[in-house]
């Protein structure tokens, strides 16, 4: 059982606060760190991997601070986001060097095992510089796995991967999670995190916005006021029919735009309600479009709601 604890950690760079008073515990199994770009995910991962001290608060591995503690790397495997990785080496040389740096008793066998795990043996004698993005990602994985770590930290591992590679990596991470390892990966795509993570931590604008399993996060994201713009053959009649239902909280008749601005509070019920009401009243729907569905606005709702 290896656990990373982040306790009231903040990190600022000059006047910019990248991580703001975040507390979370990363336990065995797969955890997804979800948030829009620039939310502070990488800063958090850097703190968890000992490459950045928290400005205040603490980041510990089983109770021991990770910053300036090189022994922690016996338990941590890190897959960084950046691609640079000794491009002049072959995949084999690169993974072998990582095994040697860990001081493993049989680095050759460890490198072989790691390359087999990520299915890169077929290209292990080629130079890293000739690899595709997905292949580089897998060799990075192999280098992080070579010492059989209890904790695996991955910064945006699915970036630039094709669907097949994505599936393979997800399968691999799922397996590690099932083996009882503590796996944490970051992503800005909800669907990606949802498919893989048992537990999701949401971070927005440096703040911890939500935490829970994917059902809870999904619900949080859908159970929020949604704004819709609706145009129909008879806006007034439609508005009257919709406001009678508890799934709507407010309807405005927008004179200039000749449209209804509707605030819905029960997403599923509302989406089912609109076509039914229109059909029963003989009204033709011309436009039904969500007004603010960007990921950022979804996330900022979460922050405001907390």
């Amino acid at each position: 059982m290896t656990t990373i604890s982040i306790d009231r950690a903040s990190r600022w760079f000059g006047n910019v606060v990248a991580v703001n008073d975040v507390s979370m515990t990363i336990e065995p199994g797969v955890t997804g760190l979800l948030g829009p770009n620039g939310a502070g995910k990488s800063t958090l991962i850097h703190m968890m991997s000992g490459f950045l001290p928290p400005s205040s608060g603490s980041v510990t591995l089983d109770g021991t601070p990770i910053w300036k503690n090189q022994q922690a790397y016996k338990q941590i495997g890190l897959v960084p986001e950046r691609e640079a990785m000794y491009d002049f080496l072959t995949g084999w040389d690169f993974v072998l060097a990582n095994a040697e740096l860990h001081g493993l008793p049989d680095p050759g066998a460890a490198a072989q095992r790691a390359l087999a795990t990520v299915e890169m043996e077929y290209a292990q004698d080629r130079q890293v510089s000739t690899y595709s993005k997905g292949m580089k990602q897998r060799v990075k994985m192999a280098s992080a796995l070579v010492h059989d770590p209890a904790v695996l930290l991955l910064d945006e591992p699915f970036n630039g991967m094709d669907p097949r590679q994505r599936m393979q990596l997800m399968e691999l991470l799922r397996r590690f999670g099932a083996e009882g390892r503590t796996v944490l990966f970051s992503s800005h795509i909800l669907e990606e995190v949802e498919q893989l993570a048992r537990h999701i931590e949401v971070i927005v604008a440096g703040r911890h916005a939500a935490s829970g399993d994917y059902r809870k996060i999904r619900r949080l994201m859908t159970d929020r006021p949604h704004r819709y713009t609706v145009r129909s053959s008879d806006d007034r009649a439609l508005a009257a029919a919709l406001i009678a239902d508890p799934s709507t909280a407010g309807i405005e008749l927008d004179y200039k735009e000749r449209a209804l601005q509707i605030q819905a509070i029960d997403f599923y019920r509302f989406t089912e309600l609109v076509p039914r009401v229109a059909k029963e009243a003989g009204i033709r729907l011309l436009t039904v479009s969500p007004a603010d569905e960007s990921l950022e606005s979804v996330f900022s709702y979460l922050v405001a709601a907390k």
């Binding site: 990248a18 490459f51 022994q71 922690a72 960084p80 002049f88 040697e100 740096l101």
Partner: protein
């Protein structure tokens, strides 16, 4: 000393363009020495000028600069250093290994060529060649440590290094005699002065001043680089 770190460093340093650059300087020195010997014959003044000015004054600091900064700077710049640092290895070991490789480069690409150039120009007379070779060797160690530190501390290590080696040591040193007290070149010359026959090599710094300063620069550089590497942060990527 970690063999894996040293191997990776050496491969990174000697591969591609940097290796060619390191090789070009000594080849140039040896070719020029052969040409001068053929035209001007064996002359102490000429030999001293070439070994002191071109070899010790220009080639040794440049090779030290390329090897010292190149041993760590590019890895920090592109972020690949993360693979060395995310290991249960003390950071001073990483610095020591890189320093050993940088010094090795200085020996092969600066000190040995100085020796051969000396042999071509003046043979072994008056220990002139030996004096400059030992000076080149010692200067190589100090430059490697200083420039390795610069490589850890600054992203513009090459610019700072060039300013030190060319502006401070050469230009400023020529007009402001006091500046020569803080010159690796002069420290190394003071050791060469003791080895060669009296009056053949001269330095503006006395040996009792030069030796402690050389030790401080070399050991202090390595120590500071280790300390700085321990606190290396990865930030600003978002």
């Amino acid at each position: 000393m970690n063999v894996t770190v040293a191997r990776l460093t050496a491969r990174g340093l000697l591969g591609r363009r940097r290796g060619l650059l390191l090789l070009a300087l000594p080849v140039l020195l040896l070719a020029l020495s052969a040409l001068i010997r053929a035209i001007a014959g064996q002359d102490e003044g000429t030999a001293s000028n070439i070994l002191g000015g071109l070899a010790l004054g220009t080639m040794v600091p440049l090779v030290g600069l390329v090897a010292g900064t190149g041993a760590i700077g590019p890895e920090i710049d592109d972020g690949s250093i993360i693979y060395l640092l995310s290991k249960p290895q003390p950071r001073w070991k990483i610095i020591t290994s890189k320093l050993v490789v940088a010094i090795g480069c200085s020996v092969v690409f600066a000190a040995l060529p100085t020796y051969f150039a000396g042999l071509i120009l003046f043979g072994t007379y008056q220990n002139l060649t030996l004096g400059y070779t030992v000076a080149a060797l010692i200067a190589g160690v100090a430059y490697s440590a200083i420039f390795l530190l610069l490589g850890v501390v600054s992203r513009h290590a090459v610019v700072w290094g060039l300013m030190y080696a060319l502006l401070w040591e050469t230009v400023v040193g020529a007009y402001v005699p006091g500046a020569q007290t803080l010159s690796v070149h002069q420290w190394a010359l003071s050791i060469g002065e003791k080895i060669a026959s009296p009056g053949v090599i001269s330095s503006s710094v006395h040996l009792p001043t030069a030796v402690p300063l050389l030790l401080v620069a070399s050991l202090g550089g390595a120590w500071l680089a280790s300390a700085r590497l321990t606190r290396l942060t990865l930030a600003g990527e978002e």
